[in-house]
């Protein structure tokens, strides 16, 4: 590491300590948004500056890092962040969920179950779930302090009134450990049940908003709903075209300019793993995902 001009994982040690203190507090108060002195990072806001700072603060030399964006390891954002830590910390990186000790994610939770020795770091754009209906931060903080979460249900009420069902399909609010209501970041609500009783530590970093929050391992996470409109995980009408998985979250991929489309696993590692294991979908050869993404 002598030839590395950066401090380990880019941030100076004081900053990392400050962030760790925020993380510890966040773990101690599940779902509570802890303010922290978010630093300028060598990337624009919206590209995961919160997640990157959390990862930098918890990263050790022996960690194995995986970074996904919308479930994929190979998008610009994921590739850049992986390269960033490979360069500034010299850590080993991977695309295999099972091999990673730290997984930084934008908008997904991997399909493969996570374990106790893993940490999931979410990139968060807007940490405040109440903001849509109550723009005053002074008021939303009081509402959290007093567990006044009726407004969250107003949002769901509006959904049902307008669409006949709870149409919120991502960033679906959850109650953590029976106390704080939390925005799980824009993951699809399909992933919400994975947060409940998850063995892995889940950390959430919002760089622009300067907030860190956490779900400790094996914490009760409940998606808000109504008695007569219970929370439902979205289902897909067909399995993955490539690997045939019927239990994963699918992305729609446009294959040509004549309306052709495919539904394939959003979690590329999961899809590849299944195909390596011999699973096939109805269009196993299907266009290369990279091409489609371009």
């Amino acid at each position: 590491m002598t030839d590395n001009p950066y401090n380990f994982a880019y941030l100076d040690e004081q900053t990392k300590r400050m962030i760790r203190r925020a993380i510890l507090k966040a773990v101690a108060i599940p779902g509570y948004q802890v303010p922290f002195a978010s630093r300028e990072m060598p990337m624009p806001y919206g590209w995961g500056t919160g997640g990157v700072q959390v990862t930098a603060a918890i990263l050790g030399p022996k960690d194995v890092l995986k970074v996904i964006d919308q479930g994929a390891d190979d998008t610009t954002n994921a590739v850049s962040i992986r390269a960033f830590f490979a360069k500034t910390a010299g850590v080993q990186t991977t695309t295999a969920t099972a091999e990673a000790t730290i997984i930084q994610t934008r908008h997904r939770i991997p399909e493969a179950p996570l374990g106790e020795d893993q940490v999931l770091v979410y990139q968060v754009p807007i940490p405040e779930p109440l903001r849509f209906l109550e723009p005053r931060e002074t008021e939303t903080r009081t509402m959290h302090a007093l567990s006044e979460y009726g407004l969250m249900h107003v949002k769901l009420y509006e959904d049902i009134a307008r669409f006949g069902h709870i149409a919120t399909s991502y960033a679906y609010p959850v109650e953590v450990a029976g106390r704080y209501v939390m925005d799980p970041s824009p993951i699809p609500k399909f992933d919400n049940p994975k947060m409940d009783d998850c063995p892995a530590l889940q950390l959430f970093g919002a760089g622009r908003e300067k907030r860190i929050y956490a779900i400790p391992p094996h914490t009760r996470v409940v998606s808000l709903d109504f008695d007569d409109h219970p929370f439902e995980r979205n289902r897909f009408s067909q399995p993955c075209a490539l690997c045939g998985a019927g239990d994963s979250y699918l992305d729609e991929v446009v294959t040509d300019d004549r309306g052709g489309r495919l539904f394939v696993c959003s979690d590329t590692d999961y899809c590849e793993g299944r195909r390596e294991a011999g699973h096939r979908g109805h269009q196993p050869g299907g266009p290369e995902r990279k091409e489609a993404a371009e």
């Binding site: 009420y157 009134a161 109504f226």
Partner: protein
């Protein structure tokens, strides 16, 4: 002052802004089911008084006590923030002159009415919606407007929606700050009639701030006349308006065109 059957009682409420005394030691009590009108010109301190009574403004001096639903008289200043907020969205209501202050303008009428129910733990969409519909009907808004946002409502409808939003938890005390101000005369009459009917039917105590003596006469049992932050005269509404004693009250009453 001893008021064994007071619902709310204030003693020596004072507030000054800079050197100017907005409210100079006002004491009053209101009983359950009583409608009290606070009248006076702008700058008389009536809105300052209302906001202090309603716990929206901390007084420089004085106390406000309220008889909670368990019958115990509590000093509002000693209530925890949580208790105070629960009180304000269950047993109290506040109707603003500007409906935009009292409504969530980007939430449907049903959501606006349902908010208090959800805030106290309502988790059955169908029940919440049914109650919202009932209240829309009670304030004479068509149930077919339940999913419209207040931005699509007229001024009079917004005020009626604001009232429904407040009354859905069956409060015992409602504060009203010029509820008919800024509305057309015909719309005013309808709203006044509605407030009059609801407060009588529900046995609501109302503390109503208005500069309009006709509104006070129609709605209130008792009147409190304010000037320069002080109470000039108080008494039965028709007594104060028909036989005003204080010079200022006589001026106020004589300045009104008889309708």
């Amino acid at each position: 002052m001893t008021a064994p059957d007071a619902l709310l009682e204030a003693r020596g409420l004072a507030k000054s802004y800079g050197g100017r005394m907005a409210c100079a030691g006002v004491s009053l009590a209101i009983r359950e089911g009583e409608v009290l009108a606070v009248v006076g010109e702008s700058g008389s301190g009536k809105s300052t008084l209302l906001n202090m009574l309603a716990g929206r403004l901390a007084p420089d001096a004085g106390e406000v006590h309220y008889r909670m639903r368990d019958g115990v008289m509590r000093d509002m200043a000693r209530l925890s923030e949580a208790e105070r907020r629960v009180l304000m969205r269950t047993d109290w209501g506040f109707v603003h002159q500007d409906a935009a202050q009292g409504l969530r303008m980007n939430v449907s009428a049903g959501g606006n009415i349902g908010e208090r129910l959800m805030a106290i733990g309502g988790r059955h969409y169908g029940d919440i919606r049914a109650k919202a519909a009932t209240w829309l009907t009670r304030v004479e808004i068509g149930v077919d407007r339940i999913d419209d946002k207040p931005t699509a409502y007229s001024g009079g409808m917004r005020q009626r929606l604001q009232i429904a939003r407040n009354l859905v938890t069956s409060p015992r005390l409602v504060f009203m700050d010029e509820p008919t101000g800024g509305l057309d005369v015909s719309v005013q009459a309808r709203l006044l009639d509605l407030i009059r009917g609801l407060s009588a039917d529900l046995g609501l105590a109302v503390i109503l701030v208005t500069h309009d003596l006709a509104v006070a006469r129609l709605l209130s049992h008792r009147i409190l006349v304010m000037k320069g932050g002080a109470v000039i005269e108080t008494g039965l509404t028709d007594r104060v308006l028909d036989d005003p004693q204080a010079p200022y009250t006589q001026l106020l009453v004589s300045s009104v065109l008889a309708a």
